[in-house]
């Protein structure tokens, strides 16, 4: 089946795959060839792709949606990149920033959902980067 990972900046991934594991809002789930049509929400996390030969590759994906239909899986997400491309330093910095903002929320009226979202993304990114780099 065909897997597409689409972000506003570019199409990150477009290739034939065997199966894929997607971080849905209701938990991670797998999609095999000829899956029934599906529309689901995706949250920041790890996207694992199993290629035809059995090789696994991992990607980080942010908030978004997945649409499965006609043997095509389309992920529409805000951002996404191979785990090897994650900028660990940047992710750690944004984690720190997000924590600071959340800690200061009593004083300033910051955008709470936005800070939380940033923290979630940063945490997933650092987690994945560490998992695959060490």
């Amino acid at each position: 089946m065909r897997l597409l990972v689409i972000t506003p900046e570019k199409v990150v991934l477009d290739r034939e795959v065997d199966s894929v594991r997607i971080p849905g809002t209701e938990g991670s789930f797998g999609v095999l060839s000829h899956h029934a049509p599906l529309l689901a929400a995706v949250e920041p996390g790890e996207l694992t792709v199993t290629e035809k030969g059995g090789n696994h590759t991992s990607f980080f994906v942010a908030d978004g949606f997945v649409e499965v239909g006609k043997n095509v899986v389309r992920l529409v997400v805000d951002s996404g990149e191979p785990v090897t491309d994650i900028d660990l330093k940047r992710a750690e910095e944004s984690e720190k920033r997000a924590r600071e903002r959340l800690a200061a929320r009593v004083k300033t009226d910051i955008d709470l959902p936005r800070a939380e979202g940033a923290l979630r993304r940063a945490l997933q990114r650092t987690k994945l980067a560490r998992k695959y780099r060490m």
Partner: protein, 300 residues
């Protein structure tokens, strides 16, 4: 007749103007290409989001999203005006601002030639320094001017922040609807001001299926409401992003054309100055020759 030296000076200055405008033309061309590329790169994302919104909106029960309905009745109409930060781009800003006045007139918020007015039933949001300067100079009240970052540095993230603020105003009842006036890019030589309704969302027509049935034959997880709440803001961000990219592409297309015209005009001017210069030089030589000949004659 101007002296030879004056003409020479003018030729020099016209030539250096030509060099500058040519450089600016080339810069505009590269930037134009870059924004075109970005606009193209965002198309798959836009298409996909649009397709899902269409599908979901078709099956969503009436009133499931506030963003799909007209907002507070008596609230002013929100208008987003997208102009450029910098000038030297031909009639780009003029055309757009003229279309703003036309729009205000068509809605009965302003009468032609009534001079500076700040219609109470309109709330203006501005992208681009030129538009902001124009409007504030004429006494219009600008509810929000998105000054940072400069337009050409806008990233998707920045657009998201802006979109969120606009949606917030709508939800808080500060505006009843939101129209975006921006320049639409049709081709390298055609770009016109256009209007798009941003809020309330007019869901795109679902890609007409075999029978055009309004059912969603897919598993929806977790549920339609959740997806819609998450999707509609995303759809709005995407739309704003695309309109901005299109406006920027148009801006550079317009700047490129006007710089090309300036370069051509400078070349023409340089050429005619050069002719005048040569003619004057020739005249001078002839005059001197005559004097010499006359002098020699007198000595004989």
């Amino acid at each position: 007749m101007a002296s030879l030296r004056d003409i020479r000076r003018r030729i020099k200055s016209v030539s250096s103007i030509k060099q500058i405008t040519r450089a600016m033309e080339m810069v505009a061309t590269t930037k134009l290409r870059r924004f075109q590329g970005r606009a193209q790169a965002s198309r798959p994302f836009a298409n996909q989001i649009e397709a899902i919104v269409g599908k979901l909106a078709a099956v969503a029960p009436e009133g499931s999203s506030r963003l799909l309905q007209q907002g507070a009745k008596d609230a002013p109409v929100g208008i987003v005006v997208v102009t450029s930060d910098r000038g030297l781009c031909g009639a780009y800003n003029t055309n757009l601002l003229a279309s703003l006045h036309r729009y205000l007139e068509s809605r009965g918020f302003e009468t032609k030639g009534a001079g500076p007015a700040s219609p109470k039933n309109v709330r203006l949001y501005v992208f681009g320094k030129k538009g902001y300067m124009y409007l504030s100079k004429r006494g219009y009240e600008v509810a929000r001017y998105f000054a940072e970052p400069p337009l050409e540095k806008f990233s998707y993230q920045d657009v998201r922040v802006a979109a969120k603020q606009l949606v917030k105003d709508f939800e808080a009842g500060a505006i009843s609807e939101l129209q975006i006036l921006s320049t639409r890019f049709e081709s390298m030589v055609t770009y016109k001001p256009g209007r798009a309704q941003w809020l309330p969302v007019e869901p795109p027509k679902a890609a007409a299926g075999a029978g055009g049935e309004a059912t969603l034959d897919a598993i929806v997880e977790p549920n339609v409401q959740f997806l819609l709440d998450k999707l509609v803001p995303k759809y709005l961000e995407m739309k704003l992003w695309n309109l901005l990219l299109e406006a920027l592409t148009s801006e550079y297309a317009s700047r490129r054309v006007s710089m090309k015209n300036a370069t051509d005009a400078a070349e023409e001017m340089r050429y005619s100055l050069l002719r005048t210069y040569n003619r004057a030089r020739q005249e001078n030589i002839t005059k001197q020759l005559l004097e010499i000949v006359g002098g020699a004659e007198a000595l004989r």
